[in-house]
């Protein structure tokens, strides 16, 4: 210890302190600060780049997922549209058929009705004519009353010959 104290050099202590403090201050201004700042900036830059890459990746994933979902939805919509269209088509066809059937049967019915009406009219006309004819025959028969029986018969035949059955 005594030797240590004896060896102690005030001059060296003084110069070392002066030099070291000056060195710290100078290096701080001209070296450590710029170096640490540059390194820090670089690290921040790398961190940011990594983060944004990660974010981009996530966005990409969500975009792909979105696309998939949209595609799926579109497909489902298309399917449902097609299904609807098919149903509508079938319905239209069925309706048309039904309508046609109905119309056809209505036409047939009306035709039948018309035929019936015509038939009835014909029958009634025939009846009328038969009545007229009977009355004419009766008239003529009455007009030629007192003639012979043979004449009467001949007359009936004659009248009958005149009447053409229609």
């Amino acid at each position: 210890m005594e030797k240590l104290i004896e060896q102690f050099s005030l001059g060296l202590f003084f110069w070392q302190s002066v030099l070291f403090v000056a060195l710290v201050l100078l290096l701080k201004k001209f070296a450590w600060k710029p170096i640490l700042e540059a390194v820090n900036d670089r690290e921040e830059g790398i961190k940011d780049a990594l983060e944004s890459a990660e974010a981009a990746k996530k966005e990409m994933q969500s975009l792909t997922a979105d696309n998939q979902r949209i595609l799926k939805e579109a497909r489902a919509e298309r399917d449902s549209l097609l299904k609807d269209a098919r149903e509508i088509k079938e319905k239209i066809i069925a309706e048309a058929k039904e309508e046609a059937q109905e119309e056809a049967s209505a036409i047939i019915d009306s035709a039948k009705a018309a035929i019936e009406v015509e038939k009835k009219a014909a029958i009634s006309e025939l009846k009328t004519q038969v009545a007229h004819l009977s009355i004419e025959i009766a008239e003529k028969v009455v007009k030629r009353e007192l003639a012979s029986k043979d004449d009467q018969l001949a007359l009936v035949d004659k009248i009958l010959g005149e009447v053409t059955l229609n």
Binding site: L12, L27, W32, V39
Partner: protein, 357 residues
């Protein structure tokens, strides 16, 4: 763990060999041993000139290789004295400046008369007046060079970031270290909110101690961190930073420890207060002792190569020295790490924010 056991083993071996060698070379090697011991002692000390090596020529004259450094002295009589250390002629001559005479004796400058007489007390310590010595010694010159080197390297690195986000050249090696200090030392110990204001100090101290330790291992071998003045300066800055950035919570834990009975609070306050000083003190001693011990052991083993002078001892010493050098490389980084780590820990305790204790 392995390393620790290795060190103890190496030291054990070293001791054995040293004792063994001591017996063998009792007579012939005593002067060589003294030379080596002196050399180690001198290597660990600061000096007033930038000496690389020295040797004795055929006429027994010492030849020094190196450069003189400026000597700056404050003296009560003659005031400021500035002159070249070459005037001392490595302690052989008395230097004269402004009518005052100075002599270099055991690495220290003493004020003397024109003849250079040095008077001693009973413990053979010089009693001459010592002027305040602010000389640019070898260590001072060295830390200035290291400071300049660090400034150039790190400002160049900082400039690189202006043009590109990635480090270039030497920065590629330094950036992981800077990030290590930030992510493994500063943030875990100080916390996310507060760490920024200490980063400059932590980074500077880490690189300074590490570079100085590493360069201390080179053959130029100017070791700064084995000087108590340097480690004191560094730990004092840590202490001051801790003390002046501390928050209320820190002082409360020192003077009025919450959660303990009142008598204990009175007992704990001086202990805690002492603790604040012991912490940086331990920083100072740890760095100083580790580096000094490493150098003494390493140089002793290298010195043993010259003592053994046989086919077994010298290569063994060389192998040991080589292994120990590798270990010292690790210690150089480790001590820088520990100093920074503990500083960060103390800063962390100073700015800690919680009331539940």
């Amino acid at each position: 763990m392995f390393l620790v056991s290795f060190v103890s083993m190496a030291q054990h071996h070293g001791n054995e060999h040293a004792q063994h060698a001591a017996k063998e070379t009792e007579e012939s090697g005593s002067s060589l041993k003294k030379d080596i011991k002196d050399f180690i002692g001198h290597h660990l000390l600061d000096s007033h000139d930038f000496g690389l090596f020295s040797y004795e020529d055929d006429h027994g004259k010492e030849i020094h290789f190196g450069a003189p450094l400026p000597v700056i002295l404050f003296d009560s009589e003659s005031g400021l004295n500035v002159f070249s250390s070459s005037k001392f002629h490595h302690g052989e001559e008395v230097a004269e400046n402004n009518g005052s005479y100075f002599k270099l004796y055991h690495g220290k400058i003493y004020k003397t008369d024109a003849a250079g007489t040095i008077s001693y007390d009973e413990h053979h310590h010089a009693t001459n007046e010592k002027p305040l010595d602010f000389s640019i010694t070898k260590n001072v010159a060295f830390i200035f060079l290291v400071g300049l080197f660090m400034f150039l390297v790190f400002t160049k690195m900082a400039k690189n970031y202006k043009t590109s986000a990635l480090p270039k050249g030497f920065g590629r090696l330094l950036e992981p270290l800077i990030l290590y200090v930030r992510d493994e030392i500063a943030i875990p110990n100080i916390g996310h909110k507060q760490y920024r204001k200490y980063m400059s100090y932590l980074l500077t101290v880490f690189f300074f101690v590490w570079i100085v330790n590493l360069l201390g291992l080179t053959p130029v071998g100017i070791n700064v961190t084995n000087n108590i003045a340097v480690t004191l300066s560094l730990s004092l800055i840590t202490y001051l930073l801790t003390t002046f950035t501390a928050n209320k919570n820190y002082w409360k834990h020192i003077f009025w420890m919450p959660g303990v009975p009142t008598p204990m609070k009175f007992l704990l306050a001086p202990i805690e207060l002492l603790g604040t000083i012991i912490k940086p003190f331990s920083l100072m001693i740890r760095l100083y002792a580790n580096i000094t011990a490493g150098h003494i052991v390493l140089m002793s083993i290298i010195g043993m190569m010259f003592i053994f002078k046989n086919w077994i001892g010298s290569p063994l010493s060389f192998g040991l020295a080589f292994a120990l050098s590798l270990l010292e490389l690790l210690v150089a980084a480790l001590q820088a790490y520990i100093f920074t780590m503990l500083s960060a820990l103390y800063f962390g305790s100073a700015v800690e924010e919680h009331d539940d204790h």
